[in-house]
């Protein structure tokens, strides 16, 4: 494997890792709220959260590109805050990927929290546990499998994204050049051997993490049945 390809792979893993960590933190309160609220605003928020599932990545990327532009409010705010523009930067990739992979984190967590039901949380409250105490003492440990699913799906989905990152990140080696973009470039230049190598890495990785995830979930389901 060539040095540029290795650097693309490493950058991709870094991006996926950072995005997964951020998503676990952001998706937790959102999924908790969605699982428990009786608010009429719930379907609106649910639809917004699920939007990246159905929207063409180029559409999402296009809007993000506009928002990241220093001429826009958000772009100007970021420039004033950090001294750098968001377009064609790693930070821009992180923000775009967090939005793009949000449903893959929120939906498993929401299902996991909803499956716990009200009773367990109310019982913990009646035993004297406050909200934070209840979350770390009961809700979080009972949602372990949901967190595993959410983290694996977010990580794997971020690894494979192409359209959004191409729109907002471009193809700057070592900065925004991710593995999926490197593969595209290899194919365009008819370097099929290198494209094969990189594609195989992604394929094997994606299959392996999904296999591990399903094995763990099946085992847990069997334990619950016994």
């Amino acid at each position: 494997m060539t040095a540029p390809d290795l650097s693309a792979l490493w950058l991709t893993l870094q991006l996926a890792g950072v995005v997964t960590l951020i998503l676990m933190v952001i998706a937790t309160p959102l999924a908790l709220w969605l699982a428990r609220t009786r608010s009429p605003a719930r379907p609106v928020i649910e639809a917004l959260t699920a939007l990246p599932l159905v929207l063409p990545p180029t559409v999402l990327g296009f809007y993000l590109l506009l928002a990241f532009n220093p001429a826009s409010g958000f772009g100007r705010f970021w420039l004033a805050l950090t001294g750098e523009t968001l377009t064609f930067s790693f930070a821009g990739l992180v923000i775009a990927s967090v939005i793009y992979s949000l449903p893959f984190a929120v939906q498993p967590l929401q299902a996991g929290f909803a499956a716990q039901g009200r009773g367990v949380d109310e019982t913990a409250a009646s035993l004297g546990a406050g909200p934070v105490d209840r979350f770390f003492g009961v809700t979080l440990p009972l949602a372990r499998r949901a967190y595993l699913t959410a983290a694996v799906l977010s990580f794997a989905h971020t690894l494979g994204e192409f359209g959004v990152v191409l729109m907002v990140g471009g193809n700057i080696p070592g900065k925004t050049r991710l593995i999926s973009i490197a593969i595209y470039e290899r194919v365009e230049t008819l370097d099929y051997a290198a494209a094969h190598g990189l594609s195989a890495i992604l394929l094997i990785f994606a299959f392996s993490v999904l296999l591990v995830l399903y094995i763990v979930n099946n085992r847990a389901a069997e334990r619950a049945l016994r």
Partner: protein
């Protein structure tokens, strides 16, 4: 005795709970009524799981008022739900420790486990427990929080028959041993007759009555709250002796009752439930009759029930007893308030589920 003072209104889809109440709680107070009467909703308001409009005070603490709301975890109220809601990621000991740690009572854990027969189960994951065992863990866990009030929402209705009678014994022991008032939601007459000291009767989100168990059961015999099921009269009795031919003699204020059921050792307190339709009346003491129990009584009131029947209320040595007979029989026997008569008990049932 701790005062429960509330004036609340809870509006839900096609249901309104409107309760204005100032009562003293001790022992077990049953929240009784048909399903949909608002029993569980009221319990959830008291526990702090539903926020109703209005004011709620328990003992010296104001739990809810305009702009003031004490969350469930600061009320010192332990709730035992219909399903045991144990924490599946912890074993039995972990579930007990969860409550004990937060109340600063970890030292009492072993004793509490022993009291509920859980010592051998402490290291077991909760998904291996039977329904009865799980509910025992839930009871022990609730007590370990050192609560000021215990709420029980139909705690035995999801259990099988054997587990029910086991849990009922633990709840009875709890009632007799602790000073903590218990609010107990149920729609089973037998359960309430056996457990409750007082009944708060609910119907369509409103209070229909409150008072001692025996009085509420007999006063509302024909009322809608029992959904056509006639509650019967509650008699508190004590096992006096076993007869030579194997019958159990029970003494109460109105005399002695004999039953073929072995009800325990001499001195055991039991509650009997006598249904009004199982009581016949005679103006003279009948001879040549197979019924074992004929009790002298005085008619205290006669209330018509529908077009043909009547409920005859009797005073049996200070214990109230109801007899359901036809209005024709009332006339034929010439029954009037104050008249002496004899009550013939066809069957005697122990008040148990």
């Amino acid at each position: 005795m701790t005062g429960l003072d509330l004036n609340i209104r809870l509006q839900r889809l096609n249901f309104t709970l409107e309760i204005d109440l100032d009562i003293a709680l001790s022992g077990i107070t049953a929240l009784f009524g048909r399903s949909g009467a608002g029993k569980s909703s009221l319990l959830r308001v008291i526990g702090g799981f539903e926020r109703a409009e209005g004011r709620l005070r328990y003992g010296g603490s104001l739990w809810q008022d305009r702009g003031h709301f004490v969350p469930p975890y600061r009320r010192g109220v332990a709730t035992v739900f219909q399903s045991p809601t144990l924490f599946a990621h912890l074993d039995v000991a972990g579930n007990l420790a969860f409550a004990a740690r937060r109340a600063g009572r970890t030292g009492d854990l072993a004793a509490m486990a022993g009291r509920f027969g859980l010592t051998a189960l402490l290291k077991q994951p909760v998904h291996t427990l039977s329904g009865g065992e799980a509910q025992r863990v839930a009871l022990a866990r609730a007590l370990l929080t050192d609560p000021k009030l215990i709420l029980m929402d139909e705690p035995i209705s999801a259990l099988d028959q054997a587990a029910r009678s086991e849990i009922l014994q633990y709840i009875e022991a709890l009632r007799d041993e602790t000073k903590v008032p218990i609010l107990y939601v149920s729609h089973s007459v037998a359960e309430v007759a056996r457990l409750a000291d007082r009944i708060l009767l609910l119907e369509e989100g409103r209070v229909l009555g409150f008072g001692p168990t025996a009085a509420i059961l007999s006063d509302n015999a024909a009322g809608p709250a029992f959904g056509g099921e006639e509650p019967g009269s509650l008699i508190s009795a004590r096992v006096a002796a076993m007869t030579a031919d194997g019958l159990c003699a029970l003494r109460f204020s109105g005399g002695t009752i004999l039953t073929p059921d072995p009800l325990g050792a001499e001195g055991t307190e039991v509650r009997l439930l006598i249904r009004a339709r199982d009581v016949m009346l005679a103006t003279e003491r009948p001879a040549g009759i197979s019924a074992l129990n004929v009790l002298p009584a005085t008619v205290s009131a006669i209330e018509p029930v529908g077009p043909v029947s009547a409920l005859v209320r009797l005073d049996c040595g200070g214990t109230a007893l109801g007899a359901r007979i036809t209005q024709r029989s009332v006339k034929a026997l010439g029954l009037t308030p104050g008249a002496p008569c004899h009550a013939i008990l066809k069957t005697v049932a122990l008040a148990r589920d």
